[in-house]
Each structure stands twice: as structure tokens, then as C-alpha cells.
């Protein structure tokens, strides 16, 4: 018995060690970014537009990348969330168990292993079809060929939505499955039909899981580089009618190209051609702050839910 307890405590210590490692890695990454990027931070850096140049002194700020990140996240989530949730509802509560569901869940697992650059190329290939010209814009003046440009906030947002769709379906389905069947039965017993039961009982009960899945999806959009690089053009600035921020130009802004924080980091880091590592670290720091804010918001939302549950 004593030996067993000793073994237990050794193993437990190892686990604590693992947890400490996790925290250390996280803090290490954030600290590293803070040290490397803090000097860069200033209202100017955040509020001015970037300049396309190889010279660090003229690099400008990261206003448009920040806006781009938010725009893409918004479009992608807006597309993938309702689509994914309703698919998950169908697969969980309507589809018959069997081959179809198995195949789909396998396909989703597999798609998770496909690098996003493949999906990016897919998006680019599809959306350069002139049929989708309204999402970006037609390329004018090339003789004999009619093509769409295939790069814009719409295109990138939709491609992002497609990229995260499988995750949203999968994680939502998991959250829905975790709702005890007794809830649904109770709802039926009160005379509700399936639709009402799903909308009023199951979805609220699975709310936290669903929120988590959306947040995970958003995280993937915020963090993706390849799709942005190919389908958003990686142009640093907003390229629609200027000024891009005045409301009458929004449609044009969305139809045109831009950048996100990740594509900006890619461009300015040694991995791209930009050659401005300290700017890249500054932008990384801002990106991390955005992600942390995203987390705080969701923690707050889910804590609201919990409070109500406990009452």
C-alpha cells in the first residue's frame, strides 16, 4: 500500500511537472514576443497603414492588417457557424446512424490533416472562375480570356469558412451529443416537437460547447497564413476605393485585397521578403493580444452561462 501511494505521488509529481512545463512554454512564448516586440508598440504603429517596402524605418503601422484579421474572422465565422451547426444538428439528430455518418466523420478527420495551403489553392482555383466575379472583380483587358481576380476579402473569408467548416461540424456535433438524452425526452414529454426541442432545449444545453467550437474556429482563421497569402493577395494595404474605411467604399473594400496580421507577420518576418523582424514581433504581440482578448470575451460569456446554470 505504501509503495503504491509512493508510486502515485511520483507520477503525480510528473504530472505537475508537465503542467508547469505547459505554463512555462506559454509564458515563455509570450514573454519572448513582449521582449522582442514591445518597443514597436505605439499608437502610431497600430493606427497607421503599412507601407510596402524593404526598409524597416518606412514600414508604417499595422492598421489594415488588424482590420483585415477582424474582417476575415467575421466573414468566415458568419458563414461556417450557422452552416456547421445546422449540419451538426442534422447529422446528430436526423441522419440515420451508419455509413454516411461514419464516412463524414472520417472525411472530417482527414480534412484536418490537409494543409490549409491546399484548401487555399482550391479556393483560388474556384473563385478565379468568372462566375464568382462578383466576389472579387473581373480582370479587365486581357484578350480572349475572361477570369475573375479570385482574391478578395469575400473570397478569403469564404475559403476560411470552408476550411473551418469540418471543425465546426465536428466540435458542434460533439457538444450536441453530450446533451443528455433525458433533456430531449423531457422536452418531448412536455409536448414540444423535434424542432422546438432542438432549438429551445438542446442548443441552449450545448451552448458552451458550441461557443468553444466557434472560438476554436475563429482561432484557426486568425492564425492561418496560407489561405490569406493566396486568396487575400498579401497586399499589405486595402486596395479597394479609397478611403477604405468610409462606409460607401465598404463594398469595394470587401471585393478587393488586403492583409491580415498573419500575412503581415509572414511578409515582415525572415520567412517572407520583408526583412523587418522587429516589426514582425510587434505585429505578433498585437496578434497574441487579440487572441487573449478573444479568450477573455469567451470566458466571460461562458461564465455568464455558468452563473445562470448554478442559480
Amino acid at each position: 500500500m505504501r509503495l503504491k501511494l509512493f508510486q502515485d505521488s511520483v507520477m503525480k509529481t510528473l504530472c505537475y511537472f508537465a503542467a508547469v512545463m505547459t505554463v512555462a512554454v506559454c509564458l515563455g512564448i509570450i514573454l519572448y514576443l513582449v521582449i522582442k516586440g514591445f518597443d514597436q508598440l505605439s499608437p502610431d504603429f497600430i493606427m497607421t497603414e503599412p507601407n510596402p517596402t524593404f526598409s524597416q524605418d518606412n514600414a508604417g503601422g499595422i492598421l489594415t492588417p488588424i482590420v483585415g484579421t477582424l474582417l476575415l474572422t467575421f466573414i468566415g465565422t458568419l458563414l461556417a457557424f450557422p452552416w456547421g451547426l445546422s449540419s451538426a444538428l442534422y447529422y446528430t439528430f436526423y441522419a440515420k446512424k451508419g455509413k454516411l455518418r461514419d464516412t463524414l466523420s472520417t472525411a472530417i478527420d482527414i480534412l484536418a490533416g490537409v494543409p490549409t495551403i491546399v484548401i487555399a489553392i482550391f479556393g483560388l482555383a474556384v473563385f478565379t472562375n468568372p462566375f464568382w466575379g462578383f466576389l472579387s472583380s473581373r480582370v479587365e483587358g486581357v484578350e480572349g480570356i475572361s477570369k475573375a481576380f479570385g482574391r478578395s476579402f469575400w473570397v478569403a473569408g469564404i475559403t476560411m469558412g470552408i476550411m473551418i467548416l469540418p471543425y465546426i461540424i465536428k466540435t458542434c456535433a460533439e457538444a450536441l451529443k453530450a446533451v443528455p438524452p433525458s433533456y430531449i425526452e423531457a422536452s418531448y414529454a412536455l409536448g414540444a416537437d423535434k424542432r422546438q426541442s432542438l432549438l429551445r432545449v438542446v442548443i441552449p444545453a450545448a451552448k458552451n460547447g458550441i461557443i468553444t467550437s466557434v472560438i476554436l474556429g475563429m482561432g484557426r482563421i486568425v492564425g492561418d497564413t496560407a489561405i490569406v497569402w493566396l486568396t487575400l493577395g498579401g497586399t499589405l494595404r486595402m486596395t479597394g476605393l479609397q478611403p477604405w474605411y468610409s462606409p460607401e467604399n465598404w463594398p469595394s473594400t470587401l471585393q478587393n485585397t488586403g492583409s491580415t496580421l498573419t500575412s503581415y507577420i509572414f511578409y515582415t518576418s525572415p520567412a517572407g521578403e520583408g526583412n523587418m523582424p522587429s516589426v514582425a514581433f510587434g505585429a505578433s504581440l498585437v496578434l497574441i493580444v487579440i487572441i487573449i482578448v478573444l479568450h477573455i470575451i469567451t470566458d466571460y460569456i461562458s461564465s455568464l452561462g455558468k452563473l445562470r446554470d448554478e442559480e
Binding site: Y16, C26, I29, S87, G113, V114, L165, A226, I288, H295
Partner: protein, 323 residues
């Protein structure tokens, strides 16, 4: 009358769901078909040789510099395939114990406030973009490996190595494993936490009620009960590992070597190229049709690998369940 209206509504609702589910399925199928069509050119020429032959880097170079008619459509990605498996397996070996250990602490052995902080940290780590992991891998991990493991003598020795000549510069299998391991650990932890939390509390009560120590309850009852969730987490993490492109392309060396066991510890210092990062690294050469098709073929191999992986895990899972 009223119930009739309700039925109609119910029906409409169901069909909306059906349409979105079908569209979702079609989309996924469409992506697969697209990739396969693009890959066919190379796959039909290379056949099985695509994964049993080596020489990918040289073949890319040859295809790129030869004129359209003379290019080879034969590619061999054995090195990429093996490197993909090695980095993913290594990363899992690193991440699974750390991830499960952390998850156990979060769920069972920490104060609520600390648990909450820990899970925030984990989710934060899970959402750090891979480009940042790559950047830090490049700035911190790679120089560290170079400084601590690679001496000038070793460099000279491997420049003339009879089995496989290579340059040791720090970008290596090891760097890939470390960066990938750190990347997938939080995903694994988060999913393990979810899986453990999903185990009914009554199991824990029953176990403790039988006088089994808390730790044993966790390892003998809760973790086995969370098994399918754990498997799902590992599959997802492995999928992420197999498909990770940007971070690995920044730290793993970019050459389609097959690490040699005969090299001993230097095995891990071999520069490698994985399937996914090949797609990123070589994408600039994609204007050449043969290379484009070869890169999509890498995508196909990735898909098939994950498919095989997911199927075999499912079989294992089923076998475990049977027991």
C-alpha cells in the same frame, strides 16, 4: 390547424438542416475530388513509386529547369513520407505524456482557480498561430540545437559521410519534433480535459467510495472511461501534426532526406522535409504543371495517410471497446 402549421415548420426546419448537411458533405467531397484530379498527372506516371522512391528535391529541380516537353512527371516522396511520420510520431511522443499529465492536473489535482488559469493558458497556446511557433522555432530552437549538438568536426564528417552526405545546420528532424510537439500539446491537453470532464461523476464517486486512491481512480477508471475522447484527441493532434506546413517548413531543413538509423544520434539532426511543408516550400515553383501536380500528389498522400491513420485508430478503438 395549429399542429399542422407546426408540422410544416418542423419539416422546413428539417429540410434546411438537410440542405446544409448535404452542402457541407458535397463541399468536402468536392475538395477531395479537386485534389485528386490535380494530382492525377503525377500519380499516374509515378504509381507506387511516388512513396517508395526517393529524390524529391532533385526531381523538383529538374522539372523546374527543363522545358515543358522534357520534364519528368516521376516523383518519389519516400523521404517526405518518412519525415512526416517521424515528426508526427516524435511530436506525439513528446506531447501525449505532457498533454495528458497537464489535463489530469487541470481536471483532478488543482485548486479551481489554478485549474481555470491553466485551462485558459492551454486554450491560449492552442490558438497561437503556427507562424508564431515557426518564428520562435527559427529564432530560438534551431540556434539552440546548432550550438549544443553540432560541432565543426561533425559538420565536416557528415559532408563526406559514406551513407548519406548532409549539412548539419540545426534545422532538423529534432527541431521539427520539438516545435510540432509544443504546437500540438495544447490541442491534445484541451481535448483530454474535455474527455475527462465528460466522464460521469458517478464513476469517480464509485471509485473513491471503494477506497481506491484518487490517483488510481484517475488512471484506472477515469482515463480508461475517457479513452475514446483521448483517442479522438490524439487523432486530431496527429492530423494537425501531419498537416502542419508553415512552422515545419521554417525549422525542419527542407531537404527530402531519409534519416538513417546508422547515424546514431545524428539521426535526429538530419535535415528533413515533410509532405505538408513541401507544398509550402515548393509552391513558388507551382507555375510548372508537373510540380503543381506533384505537390497535389503530396496532398493526396497526406489524405491517404490520415485516412489510414484514422481507420486504423478506429479499428484499435473498436478492439479496445470489445474488450
Amino acid at each position: 390547424m395549429k399542429s399542422n402549421k407546426r408540422m410544416v415548420k418542423d419539416n422546413i426546419f428539417k429540410h434546411i438542416l438537410l440542405v446544409s448537411a448535404v452542402l457541407g458533405g458535397l463541399m468536402i467531397a468536392f475538395i477531395f475530388v479537386f485534389i485528386f484530379i490535380k494530382a492525377w498527372g503525377v500519380l499516374s506516371v509515378s504509381g507506387l513509386g511516388f512513396i517508395t522512391e526517393t529524390g524529391f528535391s532533385e526531381q523538383i529541380r529538374d522539372s523546374y529547369y527543363l522545358a515543358a516537353g522534357e520534364q519528368t512527371w516521376f516523383f518519389g516522396t519516400k523521404g517526405l513520407f518518412i519525415a512526416t511520420l517521424l515528426t508526427t510520431a516524435g511530436a506525439l511522443l513528446l506531447a501525449v505524456p505532457l498533454g495528458i499529465g497537464t489535463a489530469v492536473i487541470v481536471c483532478e489535482f488543482s485548486h479551481r482557480a489554478i485549474a481555470r488559469m491553466l485551462s485558459s493558458v492551454i486554450r491560449l497556446l492552442a490558438s497561437i498561430p503556427s507562424i508564431i511557433y515557426g518564428l520562435i522555432g527559427l529564432m530560438v530552437v534551431v540556434p539552440y540545437i546548432k550550438d549544443s549538438f553540432i560541432s565543426p568536426e561533425l559538420q565536416i564528417q557528415y559532408l563526406y559521410d559514406p551513407i548519406m552526405r548532409m549539412q548539419l545546420s540545426g534545422k532538423s528532424l529534432l527541431a521539427g519534433i520539438i516545435v510540432l510537439g509544443i504546437m500540438i500539446m495544447p490541442i491534445l491537453t484541451a481535448l483530454t480535459v474535455d474527455a475527462i470532464k465528460a466522464v460521469p461523476k458517478s464513476y469517480k464517486e464509485a471509485g473513491l467510495g471503494l477506497g481506491i486512491s484518487h490517483w488510481r481512480v484517475v488512471t484506472k477508471i477515469l482515463l480508461p472511461a475517457a479513452k475514446s475522447g483521448l483517442f479522438a484527441g490524439i487523432i486530431l493532434a496527429a492530423g494537425r501534426g501531419i498537416g502542419e506546413a508553415i512552422a515545419l517548413s521554417m525549422v525542419s531543413g527542407g531537404i527530402s532526406n531519409v534519416p538513417q538509423v546508422a547515424h546514431g544520434g545524428v539521426f535526429f539532426l538530419t535535415p528533413v522535409l515533410t509532405l505538408a511543408s513541401a507544398i509550402v516550400n515548393k509552391s513558388e515553383a507551382m507555375s510548372v504543371a508537373a510540380i503543381e501536380s506533384a505537390l497535389f500528389s503530396c496532398g493526396v498522400v497526406l489524405i491517404l495517410t490520415s485516412m489510414l491513420f484514422s481507420l486504423s485508430t478506429r479499428l484499435v478503438e473498436r478492439a479496445v471497446k470489445m474488450k
